[in-house]
């Protein structure tokens, strides 16, 4: 059975908590609505305190921006989050103090990448991207065998992409950048543009061709910048049947044979893939972070 670890996927709308040691050994799970930091973190701590068996360590994959650098004085904090209540909140510190266990901390997308690396769609790869298209757009991954980190952490949702205002006058909704990738193609942008939630739009709605085009522009740039061995694309918006297939076609068209690898030119269906762990990638990756934190 092995040790039991705790995983927290900290999101802007909900926190998912779990205890276990892998996909087939997740013993307990809880979904906690994201309200104020005090209330939300309090309920997270209560969940772990209420377990029949204490966890050996806890991993947190968090929405951000965060500070994931263990040598920094602001390590473990959610820093300049879009939610005002959640700015400069010491999430990792609060959990560590209350539960007295080692705590690992990284972005939600890096955690999901770790989960897919261990149990999912990125086994044996040492350079790949995990991207999520939900209310917002985030990206992270593993480069040269290590979770992507540097000055801070990747913010792939905020890259600028070509935006032809003559065919698409929508100005984008990003408060910082207007029509960056997230500003044009996140779920919240789809809703703002078309006046209804994306999950209510049928597969033949014109929204989806434009959405596939914008996502493909982002993914093409990530491929050219990092040369990943695979690209995993998850998130609620990707649930639309046929969307991922459209994205693959547009990426192939944009690359135009330049990246001359059979993985792309002959088998792009195995190169750009959904997460094998589905929406549990994040919380399972948080359990991997917990293992690493224990050392």
């Amino acid at each position: 059975m092995g040790k039991v670890y705790g995983g927290i996927e900290a999101g802007g709308t909900k926190f998912v908590c779990a205890a276990g040691s892998g996909p087939t050994e997740l013993r307990t799970e809880a979904r906690i609505e994201t309200t104020t930091p005090e209330e939300t973190i309090g309920r997270v701590i209560a969940f772990f305190r209420g377990l029949p068996e204490p966890v050996a360590a806890i991993g947190i994959g968090s929405f951000g921006p965060i500070d994931p650098d263990p040598s920094s004085v602001t390590y473990g904090l959610i820093t300049n989050a879009p939610k005002p209540d959640w700015q400069n909140i010491d999430l990792a510190g609060a959990v560590r103090e209350a539960l007295r266990v080692p705590v690992g901390f990284d972005t939600d997308v890096n955690a999901a990448a770790l989960g897919e690396h261990r149990w999912g769609a990125a086994g044996r790869l040492d350079t790949f991207i995990y991207m999520t298209v939900g209310t917002g757009i985030g990206g992270g991954g593993i480069a040269g065998g290590r979770p992507m980190r540097g000055l801070l952490h990747p913010e792939m949702g905020h890259v600028r992409i070509p935006h032809d205002l003559t065919t698409d006058p929508f100005p984008g909704i990003c408060p910082w950048h207007g029509d960056c990738l997230e500003g044009l193609a996140a779920g919240s942008a789809l809703e703002a543009r078309w006046g209804k939630p994306s999950e209510t739009m049928p597969a033949d709605h014109p929204a989806w061709s434009l959405e596939a085009w914008y996502l493909a522009l982002g993914i093409t740039n990530f491929i050219l910048t990092l040369s990943p061995q695979r690209v995993i694309v998850g998130g609620g918006v990707m649930a639309l049947p046929g969307l991922l297939a459209k994205v693959r076609r547009e990426v192939a068209r944009l690359l135009n044979g330049y990246v001359n690898a059979p993985e792309i030119t002959r088998d792009i269906d195995s190169y750009i893939v959904p997460p094998a762990l589905g929406n549990r990638a994040g919380v399972l990756g948080a359990i991997v972070l917990a293992e690493h934190a224990e050392g």
Copy 2:
């Protein structure tokens, strides 16, 4: 004194060869015009054979695309290069066979990054980008302490960036992508657009504001994708006085405070920098590759 290593910076217009052990210990250098593979590689081999003392290993930083994966059957080759003569040329193999020494092989930009890491502008950093803006545009670097590599290697010059055709109708010159970053902003694109070589255009020519804008769009996306601790920008086009300062201003404007790190918000002059080794970064980095090849 230490061992003597050989370095080769293999470019589309010239090959620079050197023997030594570092910036202050470069004993011999040669510049060899890039003609046919047979002639050029023959002259490179003759240079090393003519040295008074044999080198312990040779490193090659090459134009590309190349195959830098030692486990691949096409390792060491220049693959689908834009120069037809140079497609599928086993550059590393030819040097190894002729000189019977270990040979290290990577992209020209990854080699330059290694040189800057050892002796130049990226000491102690483990995640940074090296970008060159010359006849073409290339980018590489080090991520998590290792030269960037994955499916193949980064091709940062070919990312798509916003291009407003109403203010700039130039279609770009990239044979694969038209108006990608290289197609709009490489030296050859500047020359095609303005009808004269970029080095003949004065600092107040309108070319330069547009150039800074395009380069900043590319660099901004690289920062958001990889979160580098520094960005080094070299290459002949960057020799124009004031261009790098313009690029820094545009990057700061595009990021708009979102990447909330003092390195960017307070001291961008130390964050986006020229190579400390100037145009010797590539050949010096090739010497680092040689050291690694010897193990």
